[in-house]
Symmetry: C2
Subunit: 231 residues, 2 copies
DNA sequence: GGATGTGAAGTAGTTCACAGCC
DNA sequence: GGCTGTGAACTACTTCACATCC
């Protein structure tokens, strides 16, 4: 009663994709010493309208202050709860090439709640190396039953790796390899394709159309915040 | 008249994001020696319904064969035209760390039409190196007025780099750095955030909800094509 | 027979406009 | 005064169902 908990009464897909953006904006705000933020400011930085921001956030419960906006820290916390950052996720990464290294070393990829448990590769020059505090194992070694596996192999290797992950009882796979893979029922595969945003950008360059916030991930079109030195 | 050309009478944003996926599926098909593909097959691999595929493709003109499906080569060509792959785009990449290298070496990132013209970094150990056939220049060197710039720097460096790109008369920026940046009116910035797909996956893991095709980029949920050895 | 292409219907998401509260 | 939160209106996208053509 007092703390409704609520834990998100079914959020829409576009909302779920925007929440991480809002969260990062709020984090930037906090790191600059600001304590509150309002829907108009978030919307400007995220490339969506203030109304959309308020609708999205209203789905997480009522925690804004009328007349003042949102407490940035509370906002970060609520979004984290809604997205499940307060749980633990074991993550394994397969394919420790440039992309795999970039991901595990990124400040942004493994958000709070995600814990890297193992790295795999096939290249003898890479297996045995220590990357981000983990010794890279051979992909034929045992794979623990992690929450989610990230595949960063070349496209030719992706299907074989995915078969191994499925055999290791992993049911959620994030595939960065440009290769459609087959999995049995009960396993979810999400694809990340770098080139899609580039292609969308090119389409709009050709057609003069500004997507203005309709972007797949997050697009700011033909405008930015006023200050020319954000940080 | 005979060849309507047409060049896409304004495609919707979701359609634009799906076309590259269809194109890759068709390419996989061609590389396996198949010559046609139908909307049901595309839809299964792309995680959307056959009707959605047909609607999307109908926007590019009438080139399917009733009773038979689409000629895979024609399909690839038409999508390429619609997305503007028949034009030339000069691309510069700033930040040649793991991510920058992964992008320029990827078979998937620089699609047909995109031509890498220069690479930049600040690290003295990297400047002067040859990466993917280009000598990495210092970011303080002159930057040509390219069609699009790709930013793969650490977040702290992103704003400074973007300011330099804007000064170099670049009006389209693809930002992989987890940092919201400010640009003047007339410049488009698109953000790519690796962690968003991971967070979406986690949300659905927690809530048991399958997005089934609603995915931001491309998600196959709880199912895949029948054959367990795609390639 | 079989698959495309498309009006019509249905559903989902966004924006408007404003009441409610600080 | 200012900004949140939300019913109502609107817009966009998807799905249904089927006429059309190979």
């Amino acid at each position: 009663m007092a703390t409704p908990r609520l834990r998100s009464a079914r959020l829409s897909e576009p909302t779920i994709a925007r929440l991480p953006v809002y969260q990062r904006i709020a984090q930037g705000r906090v790191s600059r010493g600001e304590t509150t933020i309002d829907s108009r400011q978030i919307g400007e930085l995220a490339g969506v309208t203030a109304t959309t921001v308020r609708r999205d956030l209203a789905g997480l419960g009522r925690f804004g202050t009328r007349g003042a906006g949102y407490d940035a820290t509370v906002l970060i916390e609520r979004i984290g709860e809604a997205l499940g950052h307060d749980r633990r996720y074991d993550v394994v990464v397969v394919g420790i090439g440039n992309l795999g290294r970039a991901l595990v070393n990124s400040t942004n990829f493994l958000i709070r709640g995600a814990r890297l448990v193992a790295l795999y590769d096939v290249d003898p020059a890479v297996v045995g190396q220590t990357v981000s505090g983990h010794v890279v194992k051979h992909v034929d070694d045992e794979i623990p039953s992690a929450t989610v596996a990230v595949v960063c192999t070349p496209p030719e290797a992706a299907q074989g790796v995915v078969d191994r992950l499925v055999a290791a009882n992993i049911h959620a796979i994030l595939n960065f390899a440009p290769q459609v893979v087959s999995v049995p029922l009960g396993t979810a595969v999400h694809y990340v394709d770098f080139s899609i945003e580039l292609q969308i950008l090119m389409y709009h360059l050709n057609n003069g159309t500004g997507p203005l916030g309709g972007g797949v991930l997050h697009s700011l079109e033909v405008a930015g915040p006023h200050r020319s030195r954000g940080s």
